[in-house]
């Protein structure tokens, strides 16, 4: 029990300390700060408490002020008062007035002096009411503590600097608004002063009129009349209805179209119904018959096609072939399927099952049969049957895709290019769809036609809907069963064809126009050619060892493809020019360029006409005689050498005789000295005629012409080519049209006589940039250019 009061006293003392600290702070801080703090916490606490605290603080302040020297007296006075109070019997609650740490309030012990009461546990346990108020104080204190000291006012210089900066910013902002105008005016091709003139009416009058409003009563009346009658007001000669009627179609046309549509619809529905009915038939026999019928039809058509259009037939055949290949890939007829196994069991007893098995086996045989390789010669037939063991695919692949065998490549490539039909991979679907097309060719055609027409004109919604429907029905092919069926038909077909081809070959006849034969032909040729080509090359190789190197280089050239050879010839043509680059040696050749003798019937003059064919030789002799003395070429070479020497920059010899050595007549200057005082001239740039043996080009500069040239770079340019580019276009009327000439020579600044040129006003700057648009002339140019861009002329 003893310890508890101690604790409480401690707490109290803590409070006191804080308060004290606060007081000292208060003295330093201004009254304003206090007010701030009060305001800060207004929301959180009651005004009452606040006031209380304030009162407390005030009293304490007074107390502190009071106790200077009268400390003892006061204490005595207090005691006296206490005694008097105790005498009264009735206890008055006395607030402990706080003062400086003393006997009553000490940090080391808690005194109950003054209260006359004992500390109770409950009091300690319960939170001290006043702590809430203290908390506020604490918070305030914290904030006070966080507050830094007020900074020193800035120095005068700095203050000024900031002011200057701000002023600069403001003014530069003001000035910046002029910048675009200044730039525009500077770069403008032409300035017309005064700048704020009314713009010339560039816009068509219609634009101006558009903004015009009806104002007078007469105008109103007129317009109301016009509107009532629904007349076109601004432009166009026709009203909208008239136009519509013009564009609408005639009655007959419409009727015709309707009839067409009706027919098409009827046909459509009929076909749909039939297809549905057929689909529903469950009889297998019926379907079998149907299949057979279809195959027959296809075969017939194919035969016809072969007669009419062999190339197309060839394609058809290829499709068939493709279908066969795909069928093969499925390995359906290997008798390994579930159905086949079940049938195998049944085959012992059931005749039909046996038949089915047999069928399958034949099919299998058919499929696994080796494909006849038509490129081989005729007596390959025997081998063909033998080669049934080898899977046909191997051969097939070899044929269709050119292997990476470089020996075979040579000629084949060309052939492949020639016959693009071989390469095209034909999808199963395509074959199927085409098949269908053929079957229902005529009606389909009609339908399609109608469809196309319909797609063309999308007028009524009903039509559109119908069309959509039909499109879907037509375009989406029914797969699965039909697919398979067609495959089977095709396979059958191909088989039949093959047999026919075989028969023809056995008869020893040349096949008339079976597509397989036509296809085989080129390949035969191809291989033969390859062989032919190969042989000579080998021969050459053997011979090469004996031949000279030159020939070696020539021979393979022959073998290379033409393009390469052409390239070579080009390079050959180029090379003579290069060889000309080597000087002097070629001069003779240049002078005596091979000259063909012209022989026109009249070219020989009458007087000399009697001369013989030997004339040429005689002439040469004559010439030789005539120019026996002077060798023109040698003379020219000498001349050229002299010119070269003359144009070479000369070394400067600064030797003075007598310095450092004996000088005088007959005494040569030593080589060492000469070398020392010789200033070597820089090497001259290569002469222009360096590579031209028959030409001497003067290296001298035409000074008089140079005087007319520009010899300085004007301001914005840094390189000569930039400036040259700007002065390249001639300005005179000789080279330009009148308009262009006027534009090119337009003065930079035009001032209107009698007009005052006022500075641009401030208020105009932001509001109306239109005044400062590019000047008229330039604008025209822009418009013009725009037009050109807009309408690019196309060259087909």
């Amino acid at each position: 029990m003893k310890k508890v009061p101690e604790k409480s006293s401690l707490r109290v003392s803590n409070h006191e300390e804080e308060v004290l600290g606060f007081l000292t702070n208060c003295e330093l801080s201004t009254s304003e700060d206090e007010g701030d703090n009060n305001n800060k916490y207004d929301g959180e606490m009651d005004g009452k408490i606040d006031r209380e605290v304030d009162g407390e603080v005030d009293s304490e302040v007074d107390g502190v002020d009071g106790e200077d020297g009268n400390n003892n007296n006061e204490r005595k006075h207090q005691k006296l008062l206490n005694v008097i109070c105790g005498l009264g019997g009735k206890k008055r609650l006395k607030l402990a007035e706080r003062s400086e740490a003393s006997l009553q309030v000490s940090e080391f012990n808690v005194s109950t002096e003054g209260t006359g009461e004992k500390l109770e546990l409950t009091e300690l346990l319960a939170p001290i009411k006043s702590s809430s108020s203290l908390g506020i104080v604490k918070k305030r204190l914290k904030s006070v503590k966080n507050k830094k000291t007020v900074e020193l006012p800035l120095s005068k210089e700095e203050n000024e600097r900031i002011l200057r900066e701000a002023a600069y910013n403001k003014i530069s902002q003001d000035m910046n608004k002029w910048e675009p105008i200044v730039i525009k005016n500077r770069t403008a091709a032409q300035l017309v002063f005064p700048l704020e003139q009314e713009r010339v009416l560039n816009a068509p009058i219609e634009d101006v009129i558009e903004g015009w409003k009806v104002s007078t009563p007469l105008e109103k009346e007129i317009f109301s009349l016009l509107h009532k009658n629904k007349q076109p007001v601004t432009n166009t000669l026709l009203t909208s209805e008239e136009k519509a009627s013009l564009q609408a179609m005639s009655l007959e046309e419409a009727k015709q179209r309707r009839a067409e549509l009706q027919k098409a619809r009827a046909l459509q529905s009929y076909y749909e119904a039939r297809a549905r009915r057929e689909k529903k038939v469950k009889s297998k026999r019926f379907h079998k018959m149907l299949k057979k019928k279809k195959t027959k039809e296809v075969l017939k058509q194919f035969e016809e096609l072969r007669k009419i259009n062999p190339t197309e037939a060839l394609e058809q055949l290829k499709k068939i072939e493709n279908a066969r290949i795909q069928e093969r890939m499925t390995l359906k007829h290997q008798n390994s399927g579930k159905w086949a196994k079940s049938k195998a069991i049944m085959a012992k007893y059931d005749l039909e099952a046996r038949k089915a098995m047999q069928e399958q086996l034949t099919k299998n045989k058919e499929l696994t049969q080796k494909l006849e390789v038509p490129s081989e010669s005729e007596h390959d037939e025997d081998e063909e049957e033998d080669a049934g063991l080898i899977p046909a695919i191997v051969n097939e692949a070899q044929l269709s895709i050119d292997g990476p065998n470089p020996w075979m490549q040579k000629q084949r490539l060309n052939h492949i290019k020639n016959s693009p039909t071989q390469e095209k991979p034909v999808a199963n679907e395509v074959a199927e769809s085409e098949d269908e097309e053929e079957a229902t060719a005529e009606d389909e055609l009609l339908l399609q036609e109608v469809e196309e027409r319909r797609a063309f004109r999308k007028n009524s919604k009903v039509e559109q809907g119908l069309q959509n429907h039909t499109v879907t029905t037509v375009t989406v092919p029914e797969k699965t069963k039909e697919d398979e069926e067609v495959l089977v038909h095709l396979r059958d077909l191909s088989k039949q064809l093959k047999q026919k081809a075989k028969k023809i070959r056995q008869n020893g006849e040349q096949p008339k126009s079976p597509p397989s034969a036509t296809r085989s032909k080129p390949s035969v040729q191809r291989e033969e050619q390859a062989l032919l080509n190969e042989r000579p090359s080998r021969m050459v190789e053997e011979d090469l060892e004996t031949l000279d190197m030159e020939e070696v280089s020539q021979e393979p050239e022959l073998q290379k493809p033409e393009a390469e050879r052409q390239h070579r010839t080009h390079s050959n043509q180029k090379s003579p020019q290069k060889t000309k680059a080597e000087p002097v040696t070629d001069l003779h050749t240049i002078i005596s360029v091979k000259a063909h003798i012209a022989n026109s019937f009249l070219s020989v003059p009458t007087i000399v006409e009697q001369e013989d064919c030997d004339e040429d030789i005689i002439q040469k002799q004559l010439i030789k005689e005539a120019f026996a003395g002077d060798d023109v070429i040698a003379d020219f070479q000498r001349e050229k050498r002299e010119a070269e020497k003359a144009s070479e920059p000369k070394d400067i010899d600064l030797c003075l005789p007598g310095w450092g050595q004996w000088g005088g007549p007959g005494l040569a200057i030593s080589a060492r000295k000469r070398r020392r005082f010789l200033i070597k001239a820089p090497k001259a740039p290569p002469r222009k005629d360096k590579c031209l043996p028959n030409v001497v080009i003067a290296e001298k500069r035409n000074v008089h012409a140079a005087a007319h040239q520009v010899n300085m770079l004007p301001f914005p340019f840094t390189h000569t080519n930039e400036f040259e580019h700007t002065i390249k276009t001639p300005v005179g009327t000789t080279w330009n049209t009148q308009r262009a000439f006027q534009k090119l020579t337009a003065p930079q600044v035009v001032t209107k006589p009698g007009h005052i040129i006022e500075p641009i006003k401030d208020n105009n700057v932001d509001s109306s940039p239109s005044h400062f648009d590019l000047p008229n002339l330039q604008k025209k140019g822009h418009q013009y250019l725009n037009h050109r861009k807009r309408e690019p002329v196309k060259d087909v």
Binding site: A244, S603, T718
Partner: protein, 637 residues
Amino acid sequence: MEAAPKPSSKAQVKTKGKKQPLRYWEGKADEASLLPSSLTAPDSVIVTKRKREDGTQPRGSQVSKRPKQTQRFKSKQNQKNLKSKHNQKHLQLKKDLRPNQKQELRLNHTLSGAQDPFPGPAPVSENAVKKFQRSSKFVKKHPLKFVTEDKLKAATDEEEETSVRAAQAELLLSEEPGFLEGEDGEDTSTICQADIAEAVDIASAAKHFDLNLHQFGPYRLNYSRTGRHLALCGRRGHVATFDWITKKLMCEINVMEAVRDIRFLHSETLFAVAQKRWLHIYDNQGIELHCVRRCDRITRLEFLPFHFLLATASETGFLTYLDVSVGKIVASLAARAGRLDVMTQNPYNAIIHLGHSNGTVSLWCPAVKEPLVKILCHRGGVRSVAVDSSGMYMATSGLDHQVKIFDLRGKFQPLTSRALPQGAGHLAFSQRGLLAGGMGDVVNIWRAQGQGSFLSLDQPYLTHRLPGHVHGLQFCPFEDVLGAGHSRGFSSILVPGAGEPNFDGLESNPYRSHKQRQEWEVKALLEKIPAELIDLDPRNLGEIDVISLEQKKKEQIERLGFDPEAKAPFQPKQKKKGRSSTANLVKRKTKVKDQKQREKVRQSQQQQDQQQKKKKKKLTPPLSTGPLPSALDRFKR
């Protein structure tokens, strides 16, 4: 207040009203839009007319283009009312044709409702524009200043605009040149003048004539620049000028002295005659105006029309330039190659070509005292020289009986040559590049075989035998006529396809009047080009004189003691704590230096790479045509 209705609002208001008469194009437009495929020729006349000028697009596409546009416009107006498939189709098509529709619409829309069927200026084909463009586009190699870029852009814009304007102003339906075509296998050279004259119209046939002037010896001739007048001079003093088309004589005199050459000055009113001693100038009445004694013993004359210079070659070996506008001798150059009697001018750059007895041809301009170029052309002496009107080719004939054609564009190499049995004594190029050669009394004319090909000397285009030996040859400008002066007079030969069919009326108008000539004279004098500007490449004037530019800069540097534009060399910053030691400074300096060096090396490397790539590219295409090489190729036999 009621506003005038705008097109969009109006469309809803309108109903059927009184039908107004259609404009011819409007009706067409509607028709065309309805039946674009069934357009008949008479209907489309108006539409196609414009298109034929550029003739680039197929007619069908052009025809449907215009109507679509109008259709488009209308469809915009009443999109709600009308939804025909035609409209939709056009809309689709329009999109790619015209990017900015709005502007177009505005242009079309006029107050009266009439629509311009051909809005905007006439389209110009790109090829036509390209023809008038002077320079290739500027290629920026490094970033430029804004100002510079602006100026460059302005220059290119200007150039483009002027070229477009020029293309627009080009002559339409100009005369087309044509040549004589022989029937199958027929050689055109076998066709004689009488046949040609018979076949052509009377006016042209009248241009074939012979003047029988056997008294005054071999004749030389000169046509005036317009091709209208002809001056003849016989060696024995006979001088005559006349309008050769009307055959109206202007003057005929005998100067009583040997005459070597005659030449019209800038117009037909003045002509210079090289007489035995001196050079004389006469007017069109035959009155002697000047006797230029400083030019003596002249053998050949040439007149440079744009410089007003009369170039004279003398026996004494001097080439003298006389400015006829001020009467001053501009330059007198010693050729130092003996007697000069072969001379011609290059019409492209006004360079004088002289042929010498040592087989060389030298090129001269008045500003340089030595020949600009000397070309060794023949083994023997040069007999005659001619330069074609484009200034690209020079034909020479020498004593070695050869005719050669040289390329004059920098290389001066012979392109073709041909030995002729007698050699050509006289050569002349026509305006359209035909070459005439006079051999004895025969004149051969060669032309390029095929379109755009180079002149071939294999087969003559025409041949003609004259009554006497050729002494002077010249093609008449703007006429299909070759004038040949010979020992027995003068003959005018018809050469189809020789002359330029289209003349520039402002420059040299054959039909000009007295007044026009006077005006032209004044203009020509005002535009006279100074003699100093004659140079091998006339475009040099548009280039900056780099040498003097550098010289100036050097002088400036010398004067100032430093280069104001030079970049200051790298100076390492001063650092503290011992980091600015000498070693460190050097290290930093080298670091910067190395960096620069590396940059340079990298750039050069890149350049090399690019060059190699280009080379490879050039090489590769033929290879790529063949099949790809396989790895097994190396075993190939």
